[in-house]
Subunit: 146 residues, 2 copies
Amino acid sequence: MTEHDTPPAEISPTEQAGRFARAREKQSMAILEDYVEMIGDLIAMHGEARVADIAERMGVAHPTATKAVARLKREGLATSRPYRGVFLTDKGEALANWVRVRHRTVVDLLIAVGVPQETAEADAEGIEHHVSRRTLKAFEAYLTDK
Amino acid sequence: MTEHDTPPAEISPTEQAGRFARAREKQSMAILEDYVEMIGDLIAMHGEARVADIAERMGVAHPTATKAVARLKREGLATSRPYRGVFLTDKGEALANWVRVRHRTVVDLLIAVGVPQETAEADAEGIEHHVSRRTLKAFEAYLTDK
DNA sequence: TTCGTAATATAGCCAAGGCTTCATATTCTA
DNA sequence: TAGAATATGAAGCCTTGGCTATATTACGAA
């Protein structure tokens, strides 16, 4: 440890607990966001989103994708009928678009500060879900002014 | 969606699946890292880490913290005896230090690109776990050269 | 038009990480 | 030093997000 060792942050237990709680909340939205974005991409690419394709690209088994779709439906983000493809509701599509923009911004910012593209793409997959609107705004401003 | 939306990234399904898989792996380490860092902080501040304090600062109920400590012990990161405090193994301490450095670097980078401090602290809590060594190196270089 | 294959769904399992409730150990104080 | 207050542990439940194995449905080719 260096001399600049910061003493543990001066933050009240309550406030810190809140931060962790918010981080956990974001995490619970992350998978929804990933699936919604994926479904949007597949529809854009193939005109439809099949469960098998979703599963393949997410790197999970089919039943896992089916369950995720069920959760999306429960949350009003997607629709589907048995043995038919999966579609996004307006709400789902709006979320997909927002997520896509955020993803690109995060990747661009990482690259702008010197992260190699491949690494930027990979890390962004996890980072993006924790980027708040305010932080995203700052990223956009930085990329514009740079 | 419009016709000329950004075309979905040109990436093979397999490669994309790998990215998601890696993001999931990192996520499964995230909580371990948070607890290890917290325990390190508490020991630095109070000379010991009590389960009650850990729980309070993590924003969870005591049994949740106890379970987490059990997992840390299983992973060889911490030790504890009933009704005594929790301590880090060498491995746990090394992880705690690495995590702490990474956390600070992430916060500093966010601030450097214009994110308000409060927001930076909060978002970093989730972002840090997805920052690879390579990305961290880039952050450090950026902060130095700036 | 039927039938085999591929896609989808269902059921049931596991681990993680939350929770509450209740029992037990420790510590503090009167 | 006994008893109350506090801290810890144990048990059991819930949800998520993985999995495998086993139906069932849809569809294209013979």
